[in-house]
Subunit: 414 residues, 2 copies
């Protein structure tokens, strides 16, 4: 097997970004634990404990060391290992060799790191539509890449063929894909993983190098036992020597901790060596160092302690069951014939959201009417889709929500 | 007075980055408080409270709402206003019209935002040396700008003339400066603000547009009452219609909250209108949205509650007095004749650090010998300087630290 160089995947930016070994961070690490240590860029009191404001510390039930000092750039070692351990539990087919997750300041930050390290200005990023609108802000506005969107559905199924045709026709031999299952905004998790993987493998076999970014923000929130329960990343990480898979995930949705901003980046590739993983981890840490220095110590420890709590699994399951109930209630209502005239429910089996494809009404008009006449908020996506976050609506409100939506459809159609 | 356009200051990237008004963020804001709200991209329980893991929430003494939901992209409104109120208290000469601070994920994140919004690849950023090494990671590696360093000291004073000569000779009419007082690594706060401001004003008068970035990370930690107690930003914000001043500061050092990652970006300019400030705030928020989505809700509320604590000022003063004591103890020792043969203490009157300019010994050799022979950690900067963080060394250890350093000098010189 020919040894691949990381440079096949990295952008020009990515090639120049590395972890500043030998710099202050490394020198500080070398001095750790020494009796006299004047390397530390924080302030310690006369006992060597972080100097602090008691007004702040009394708001948190954690030791000072888990709140105030800087976290290491790659993230807290024990959290990185714990996250990987959970990833393996949730993805039994994950290959033995993947990188150790590097901590980012939330999932978007992981996406931003990927945009920086794997795309240069003008590069194409292939993606299914509809997609989370903020991808444009990250990939296009901040980092100058161009999203090439392929409609996700063809006859109610993931359109693997159109995606792969688009990739095949791109002029560059290095291709970047961004996949997001469970999908925001549709709430769809593909059942067609096999055909997607086969097609990507064929593309790699034809000589392309592929970077496949898996936005796993909503991982685990699948409501149908027939669906793949593992991440697409688990398969891509062992697919082909010219495929580098990147898992972008975090505590944001998986641990119900949106505001804490804890994300992770993990790499997997069939021919990727331990040295290459370390190199990739260092480049992500180099990005983190240059962009935010490091990620919240407090948030990382909160997530770590939660993952290790004896009641963690039970608490999480309880939340998921509630979301599952709302998902099914929504489905039951929206398949009713009275909606068929106005909209189609896009395939949906997971996540926080569902999407309605409007047949003739304007999405913004629907949103505004619903808001103004029925005190009900939904999101308009483009001209012909609306997104409904059943995740944030109490179950007993769902019938009224959809009744109001139906009334709006009728009002605007009359 | 001719009205300036923001485009005179913004990079090409900065011109294309704006806040995605009308997108999901805005639609969600419009639905806030509505009886039925299916716009929210988090999960709420049947009572409308964020769905959570009790294992996490029991670690924090704050209401759920101050921990788990996403914070608004610009930052929590009350925190932004409170930070500005404190800024005015600490800088009485701040002009009436400055922007409202926008929250960033720490001070480095504010620097990264500035590198993105105000420089394009290849652009020069003028800076005094020595400087914090991570500027290279942020400005050069991530965003492609080029740092042009001018030695900070000439005959023991800030070398305003050389800085301004360098700026004058740059080919572009738009010039970006990055200034950092109290300075990392020297611990110097300039007393020559007047001459610097006069020179920058002259440069603007000759037709240049200037963006002056003030890294105020160590603001407030001045140990000499004769020093300027206000930020340079306060003067620059009212200097000249072609000067845009940017204050990059945060809770990191000012509130002894390094690991929480709360920073702020504030703009000030003599001819900058309210609309221009709003535009700038939106562009920073557009950067935040694309890079990290939003900053930690929990960290922001911890800082807000701390700023409002009745004992806040007293707690902070106590910490500063401790650092002041260590500063003076260090000065007293290092002016002793026995050091003169080996090094010169660079001008120092503030901050966390002091710097020694080595006369003939190699900085890395000194660092390594001190670490290995005397269990004492310091930082080597380039070949001929070492940085000592007196902020993190208990006062009673300082004599031993400097004794060990002196022994190292002797060992390596023999």
């Amino acid at each position: 097997m020919r040894r691949m160089s990381l440079h096949s995947w990295l952008s020009e930016r990515g090639k120049r970004i590395s972890f500043p070994h030998g710099g202050i961070v490394t020198q500080t690490a070398e001095a750790r634990g020494k009796p006299i240590n004047a390397t530390i860029g924080i302030a310690l009191d006369e006992e060597g404990v972080p100097l602090h404001l008691p007004s702040l510390m009394r708001l948190v039930n954690l030791p000072l060391e888990e709140v105030l000092p800087y976290a290491s750039t790659h993230g807290i070692e024990s959290l990185r290992n714990e996250w990987l351990r959970h990833m393996r539990l949730k993805n039994p087919s994950l290959p033995a060799s993947v990188s150790t997750p590097v901590v980012t300041a939330g999932i978007t930050h992981g996406l931003s790191a990927c945009a920086c390290l794997f795309t240069d200005p003008g590069d194409a990023v292939y993606i299914f539509s509809p997609y989370w609108g903020n991808y444009r802000q990250t990939f296009e506005k901040l980092w100058g890449a161009t999203l090439h969107a392929i409609p996700l559905f063809h006859e109610g199924r993931m359109d693997v063929e159109s995606l792969c045709t688009a990739i095949q026709h791109s002029s560059s031999t290095h291709k970047v894909l961004l996949l997001n299952f469970p999908n925001n905004p549709t709430g769809y998790t593909a059942v067609e993983y096999e055909s997607l993987c086969a097609s990507l493998s064929d593309e790699a076999e034809r000589g392309s190098t592929l970077t496949v970014l898996c936005d796993d923000a909503y991982f685990g929130l699948t409501y149908d036992d027939a669906l793949p329960q593992e991440s697409l990343f688990a398969r891509l990480a062992n697919l082909h020597e010219r495929v580098l898979a990147v898992k972008i995930d975090g505590a944001t949705k998986e641990e119900y901790a949106w505001g804490l901003r804890v994300g992770f980046l993990t790499f997997g590739g069939k021919a990727t060596t331990k040295e290459m993983y370390t190199d990739l981890e260092d480049r992500v840490a180099g990005f983190v160092r240059g962009d935010v220095s490091n990620c919240s110590q407090l948030s990382q420890h909160l997530v770590l302690r939660t993952l290790r709590s004896s009641t963690y699994a039970r608490e999480k399951q309880r939340n998921k069951e509630l979301l599952r109930k709302r998902f099914h209630r929504s489905q039951d209502i929206l398949v009713q014939g009275r909606f068929a005239r106005f909209c189609t429910l896009l395939p949906c089996n997971s996540g926080y959201f569902l999407c309605l494809q409007l047949h003739h009404l304007d999405a913004e008009a629907v949103r505004r009417h619903l808001l103004e006449q029925y005190d009900t908020g939904i999101v308009a996506l483009g001209q012909d889709k609306v997104r409904i976050a059943f995740s944030s609506v109490p179950t007993e409100q769902l019938p009224l929500l959809y009744d109001n939506l139906h009334k709006t459809f009728c009002d605007l159609s009359s």
